[in-house]
Structure formats: structure tokens, C-alpha cells
Amino acid sequence: MKILVPVKRVPDPATTIRVLPDGSGIATDNIKWVINPFDEIAIEEALRIKEKQGSGEIVLCSIGQITWQEQLRTGLAMGADRAILVKSDQPLDTLAIARILVKVVNDEKPDLVILGKQAIDDDSNQVGQMMAEMLGWPQATFASQIEFADGKCKVTREVDGGLETIAFPLPAVVTTDLRLNEPRYASLPGIMKARKKELKEIAAESLGIDLAPRLRIKKLTAPPKREAGRKVESAAELVQLLHSDAKVI
């Protein structure tokens, strides 16, 4: 099976994010950049499918700046076969990202696209669903289990109030949730091998796709800060205060 895994570069989830005073963005001086954690889960799942089936190809794709090579190399070191960097220095919205990825799908013809349910920087949770519609493919978002049987793909999804299972034929788009797997670390031999793997660069402008953003961020502001309250000495004092002071019980 050929699997395409879109990969986004995002700030490490442990980084403290600070909004710049002029509202033009976030301070990037002290940020460590990583693969979006949900995309890491997507790469891991693709590797497991390939390992289980004994054959297949895993292609990574990022749409971003030249620095994003770093995360693609990490994905290759985890075990993906090759990578494509669609280079763009402009801010792109989710529709443009999805359109570019669809173009890559049309060129590469994978059987499956696995990607994160959400990028932890923009928190949009849109690209996978948009791709599925543009391709006319089934979609299974928030996957916690993926199985293949009888020529169909069966996915268990984390939804409100429980777990839902849906089935569909391939090709399809699946987005990952946290419980799908625990991603492996790149091994030293993996890192050595990754240096020789193909990492192709394409200029986004050369694809003939309208990339003008239809959603624009006018400014960023820091959210109102919540002040720490008081420490209480005992359960008795806590209940007393919740009753007479906060009046919530």
C-alpha cells in the first residue's frame, strides 16, 4: 500500500508561546521546532501498516519553508521512504494547503492519506476533511484504530459519548487521534539512512494553484491572564469557601 503522510512543522508542545507586543505573530526566538505530534502518530501508523503488510511505500509531504526539511528528515529517520517539500514562504490558509496536498495526491496516487487531526499551532482541525472532499474520498477523522479486511478499511473514531466504527473502500483520508499509537523514536541507523533518502523540493507557485488566503489573521492578542487565587489549609476550609465565598455549592 502506498501511503501519503502530510507533515507540519510546529513549536514543541512544551514551549511557552508568547504573542509579540505588536500583535503580528508569536515570538520565535526560543522555540524548538518539531513534527506536529499528531503527524508523528500518522507516520508511526503508516510504518506499522507497511510493516504488517510486508510491502508498501510511505511518502511524506510538507508545505512550508526550507527549514521544514529538518522535520521531513526526522520523519525519514523514523522510516518513511521519501519526502516532498512544497516550498512556500507565504502564509497559506487551510484551503490552499488542502489544494496543494490534493495536487500531490493526484501526482503520487497513494491508496491512503494519513495525517494529524489538528495542527497544534493553528488548532484548525480542517485539512484532512477538506482533502477528502476535494478528492471525493471517504474520510475517517479522530482515528483510534485502523484495520483492513475484505478489501475495506475499518476505523474506530473518538467521538462525543463513545467510540464509533465506520467502514469504507480505499482510497481514503484518515486523521489521527492521540490513542492510535505511540510513535517510535528515530534510531541512529535510521538517522544515517535518512540522509540518503530522496527529499524533493517543488515551488508552490509552480503548481498553478490559487494560493491567495481567503482567511486572514489581522492580529494576535494574548488572552486575559487568570490570576492565581489563594491556598487553603484543609478540605473543611475548601468546602466552606466554595459555599460562602464562591457560592458554587
Binding site: S124, Q126, E133, T141, G162, R214, K218, L220
Partner: protein
């Protein structure tokens, strides 16, 4: 100005609070833009549900019906609803950012060639919208361009719509849908059984973290507190990942966002991803044995204590209060 169309999700035979929040946000958006707010209920047979929704202030409810819409599936719903949006000429399509809203709205946006804003928390007078990014560490003021725009609403950021005293007309519309072209198939729904209030509806939420150490301790230590307060139960990612409690109890950036009157975090450190899902709660209590745990920086009342002692004591104190 064009109209706002609200996609109204239901569970069984009723509309959860999250849906009424979308209706209210839709009414607010329509008012600011000078148009009206309509709602669509989709399913196999939804006349009764549509009539119920007609009491909540919208100018019309569409019952969009087709046998293939019986169970929610993204492909069928996207086809049926996009056709309706085009027929109505709506300018905004809006839903709550629930599991269904998050699954469906981006697919609809792509089908309608529309930009989409996820999880909005405010509608400004100048037609800009506000949405959180970076786990709530930044609020973005955004602007969208297009004949149609798609929006999901954060359920904690708006009040629920109230009955308006009048009843809007209901129109039954058969969905334009070719079931032969549908590829997705519903197999099963494994519902988490619980008699407790829904996380997103409860006035009080008690959440447990890794500090609870086991699923058994959730039952014997945390649940008495949850039930004494008539609260909903939540959890941190660490507690869910460890299998202590079901997945849909996760509160946070990538789980559920809640803002109850009272949120009690027990044995939760307060990672930024967890805070993103509860820091707008009215009163926050933290019980943690580590005085430096970040959860204390957002807590109104912090109790530095071993939870295995403090939680049972709190239950006792609550019982005393009830009988006093």
C-alpha cells in the same frame, strides 16, 4: 446581507446545549450582519425535532430528510447540506465544534469552496471573528473572504439560545442525494455508559489526572466526590492514555473544552494543553500534593495535599454541609 444557516446536531430525540449555543451564536451573527438566522436539522425523519427547534428564535427550520441521512456520515451529510446552502444562498454556515461539527464543517467548506474558521469565541461588530490558537495562548482576530463562509463555534464561549415565545415555520425539504455514490458506511457506536451529566453541559466538573494512579482509584476515590456534587467527570490526557477512564472524558486542547461554574482538578499538574480546555471555568479548585504544580497558577482555591486523604475528607465535609 445574506442569511446565516445553523447546522443543528441532535442526540436521539433532543438537542444538547451545544446545539442551542450554535443557534444563539447564529442569531448574534445574523443580527450584526442584518440578515436572518435559519437552522437545518438533517436525518431520515426529523419533523418532530425541527418543530422543537422552531421555538428557539430562528426565523425558519428546515427538516432535511433522506433515508441515507439516518446515521451521521460525513460524505452524505456534506452532499445534502451543501446543496441546501446553495439553494438558500446562505452567507454563513455555522455549527458547534463538537465531534460531528469538526468532522463535517471542513468537508462542507471544501465542497462550497468556502474559507472556514474553527472554534470561534467572539463575533466582533466590524464583522471580524476571534478564535484561539496555540492551545489558547493567542487569540486571533480573523477576517474571511468569500460568498459563503463556514464557522464552528466554541460551546463555552456563547450562551445557549432560549425559547423565544414564538414558533418559526418548519419546511420539509427532501435531500438531493444519490445513495449509490456514497462510500462511507456506519458500522457501530460503542456508547460510554454513564448516568452522570454530560461534560459539556454540567454545572460542576471534577477531573482526575495521573495522580489518581489507577482506574480503580477513579472509582473508589474520585467518583464519590463527583457524585456528591452531582458533577460530570473529566480527565487529563495522561489518565485517559493510561486507560483509567474512557477517551471522551479528556479535557484540553485536543479533547473537550469546558467552562463550568466549578471545575475541580484532582492530581492534575496543569499542562498548557489541559489548561486550554478548562481555564475559562468560573471557579477553579486544584488538589495536588506538589505546591509548585502549574495548575495552582489558575486555581481560585488550591489545596496542597495528598489526594487520597483530601478527596475523602472533602466528601465528608460536603455531606456535613448538606446536613447542616
Amino acid at each position: 446581507m445574506g442569511d446565516v444557516l445553523v447546522f443543528a446536531e441532535y442526540f436521539g430525540e433532543h438537542f444538547p446545549k451545544t446545539t442551542l449555543v450554535a443557534v444563539n451564536a447564529g442569531l448574534e451573527l445574523a443580527k450584526k450582519r442584518g440578515g436572518s438566522c435559519l437552522a437545518v436539522v438533517a436525518g431520515a425523519d426529523v419533523g418532530a425535532l425541527a418543530s422543537e427547534l422552531a421555538k428557539f428564535g430562528v426565523s425558519k427550520v428546515i427538516a432535511l430528510e433522506h433515508p441515507a441521512l439516518k446515521d451521521y456520515l460525513a460524505d452524505a451529510y456534506a452532499i445534502a447540506i451543501s446543496a441546501l446552502v446553495k439553494k438558500l444562498g446562505s452567507e454563513y454556515l455555522l455549527a458547534t465544534a463538537t465531534a460531528v461539527g469538526k468532522d463535517l464543517m471542513p468537508r462542507l467548506a471544501a465542497r462550497l469552496d468556502a474559507p472556514m474558521a474553527s472554534d470561534i469565541v467572539a463575533i466582533n461588530d466590524d464583522n471580524t471573528l476571534v478564535r484561539p490558537m496555540y492551545a489558547g495562548n493567542a487569540l486571533a482576530t480573523i477576517e474571511m473572504e468569500g460568498l459563503i463562509k463556514v464557522v464552528t463555534v466554541r460551546a463555552t464561549a456563547f450562551d445557549a439560545a432560549q425559547p423565544s415565545g414564538s414558533v418559526a415555520p418548519v419546511e420539509k425539504v427532501p435531500a438531493e442525494l444519490d445513495d449509490g455514490a456514497l462510500k462511507m458506511q456506519f458500522v457501530a457506536f460503542n456508547q460510554t455508559k454513564s448516568d452522570r451529566p454530560q461534560l459539556t453541559e454540567a454545572r460542576i466538573v471534577v477531573s482526575g489526572g495521573r495522580g489518581l494512579r489507577s482506574g480503580e482509584n477513579f472509582k473508589t476515590v474520585l467518583e464519590p466526590l463527583v457524585d456528591e456534587l452531582g458533577a460530570a467527570m473529566g480527565a487529563s490526557r495522561a489518565a485517559v492514555d493510561a486507560g483509567f477512564v474512557p477517551n471522551d472524558l479528556q479535557v484540553g486542547q485536543t479533547g473537550k473544552v469546558v467552562a463550568p461554574e466549578l471545575y475541580i482538578a484532582v492530581g492534575i499538574s496543569g499542562a498548557i494543553q489541559h489548561l486550554a480546555g478548562m481555564k475559562d471555568s468560573k471557579t477553579i479548585v486544584a488538589i495536588n500534593k506538589d505546591p509548585d504544580a502549574p495548575i495552582f497558577s489558575v486555581a481560585d482555591f488550591g489545596l496542597v495535599a495528598d489526594l487520597f486523604k483530601a478527596v475523602p475528607e472533602t466528601v465528608e465535609e460536603l455531606k456535613k454541609l448538606k446536613h447542616s
